[in-house]
């Protein structure tokens, strides 16, 4: 009898635990669904042609758009990728193909440390660096790109490292056996075999930094006008546009909030497209390799 009730208690506990686990999943999903739903319903109001074709220059109240911010985001993100992809890729090659001894160990540790740098600290660093060269109060798009590359490089190194490690050693040995020097082996055999994974990793790294706000708020500043030159003057970016639209609402506040949500929606779409694109690409290449 007591054994029976003990068994009942155990099974009741099991059912409660199962219930809690399902509930925790639902609880966690709710805010995320709410966020996507709000962004979609509030963002669509201003997701029109004007949003993509005009800046905020001389706009008070309704109208205007995020053209200046989109140009800034594209230029700054591309510059950041231009800095961090070669450095990150070469570092990964060093760690996988050459790295022995203390320098390699130190690089591994430092890459780990870099992954944990708060984004605002990266912004402060870029500011400190550029203030030293251009004097205090410096603001420019390129400084933002430097800050972002500090956040992006460790992500590129990590993913490229994983991909290079996946290339079977037989490939390298076969190449050496044919008398190919090591650097050509890496360039012509190892990297092509890992290229799909490397491109996927780069796309995911870009999606991580494209929504960064804090460092750009600090070193790229904000402006209402289009600025094509990342080496001179303030440059608006999409995340800062979202923040600024919300935090400094003028008369007719609703139009500012609408613009903020439209910007947020564009950001979400960009990030999801980059992530899904990366997945689709790697799935495509995997299928091609398997054939």
């Amino acid at each position: 009898m007591s054994l029976f009730s003990l068994n009942r208690r155990r099974h009741a506990k099991d059912r409660i635990a199962t219930g809690l686990i399902y509930v925790s999943f639902v609880i966690a999903l709710m805010p995320l669904l709410s966020l996507l739903y709000t962004a979609l319903t509030n963002g669509l109001a201003r997701l029109d042609a004007e949003f993509f074709s005009s800046s905020m220059r001389n706009v008070v109240g309704a109208g205007g758009g995020a053209l200046h911010a989109i140009i800034g985001t594209v230029e700054i993100t591309l510059l950041a990728a231009l800095i961090s992809v070669p450095i990150g890729l070469l570092t990964a090659i060093y760690l996988v193909e050459y790295g022995r001894g203390r320098l390699a160990k130190a690089v591994t540790v430092f890459v780990d440390v870099m992954t944990g740098i708060p984004s605002i600290v990266a912004g402060l660093f870029a500011f400190a660096l550029f203030a030293l060269i251009f004097g205090p109060g410096v603001r420019m798009g390129f400084a933002g790109a430097v800050a972002l590359s500090l956040l992006m490089t460790p992500v590129v190194v990590r993913s490229a490292e994983e991909m290079l490690k996946l290339v079977p050693n037989e490939f390298r040995e076969a190449s050496y056996a044919l008398g190919v020097p090591k650097w050509l082996t890496v360039l012509k055999v190892v990297i092509p075999s890992a290229s799909a994974g490397i491109i996927t990793g780069v796309m995911i790294a870009i999606s991580r930094v494209i929504g960064e706000t804090a460092p750009l708020l600090i070193v790229a500043g904000f402006t209402q006008s289009v600025n094509y030159n990342p080496f001179d003057e303030r440059m608006m970016t999409l995340p800062v546009f979202v923040y600024y639209s919300y935090s400094s609402q003028g008369a007719d506040a609703q139009s500012y909030i609408d613009r903020a949500w439209a910007g947020a929606l564009v950001l979400i779409i960009l990030v999801l497209a980059l992530n899904l694109g990366a997945r689709a690409l790697s799935a495509y290449f995997n299928r091609k390799l398997a054939r």
Binding site: D14, A17, T18, L20, V23, S24, F25, A28, L32, S34, L35, T38, N42, P86, I87, L90, T91, L95, E97, L103, A106, V107, F110, V111, V113, G116, I117, P118, I120, A122, F125, F127, A128, L129, A131, P136, L150, P154, V157, K182, W183, L187, S207, R208, G211, T213, A214, I218, G221, P239, V242, Y243, Y246, S247, I257, A264, L267, L274, L276, R279
Partner: protein, 305 residues
Amino acid sequence: MKSKSRLGDRVFSGLAKGSGSVILIALMAVAGFLMAQAWPALVADPAELPNATEGFLPYVIPFVFGTAFSALIALLLATPLAIGIGLFISHYAPRKLAQALGYIIDLLAAIPSVVFGLWGIQVLAPAVQPAYVWLSENLGFLPIFAGQVSGTGRTILTVSMVLAIMILPIMSAMAREVFLQTPKLHEEAALALGATKWEMIRMAVLPFGRPGLISAAMLGLGRALGETMAVAMVLSPAAVISFALLTSTNSNTIAANIALNFPEASGLGVNLLIASGLVLFAITLLVNMSARAIVNRRREFSGAN
């Protein structure tokens, strides 16, 4: 049998080695430049510091408190949920569904923080405000729920909820990974002894995953400590140390304080903010390093790999 070194080999390996060194130099430059820019604020006469007439330490300590307090509450909220999600995906959901859910959670990790901030202030804060009123009316005798309830819901508890949601994807992804690595034999042995599924999880899965869970929590903590925009947008800040969760005077965090004040700062004010950023850098470095140490210790003993 050493082959003669070719020019291409030397150039290429030099390039690779150089890039690795660039990373070392960059990180040292971060520490060096921040220190150089922070120094003037540390040695200046406190009377000259804007907003910090009592010196640097009294200025930064409330922010350190706010940073740690909000991040710890976020961790407290997120850890049980992350374990639940990890178990759901690794042991409860059907395999096909689990894979899709894993994808979705990975995607959510990429949503920009400024979007979470916008959502927090526009949707979450008004939604939880009535609950705050209820909490203070019925549990107001507890110090954490005491005080005048904020009318906007922009309190440190709301901020911590947003932070918890933001660190949930990475924490649950890590939890899922360690739970999936539990040796199948341990699980089957527990089940063969007549354990229910939950008992099997408690006896085999959770003990095996504990070091991984601890490091997941530390990484989540590191993220929450450095998170800027969500806090800057949602919190209604004050330079105080306060444990009250529901009032409109909340300790600001270091990162949010920098973001809010940097655009208008000048002169020593800039140095002061950079010095506080250096403190944040040191704190996150400490947290992340201990997380890595835990992961590495586990790797040595687990016999896996």
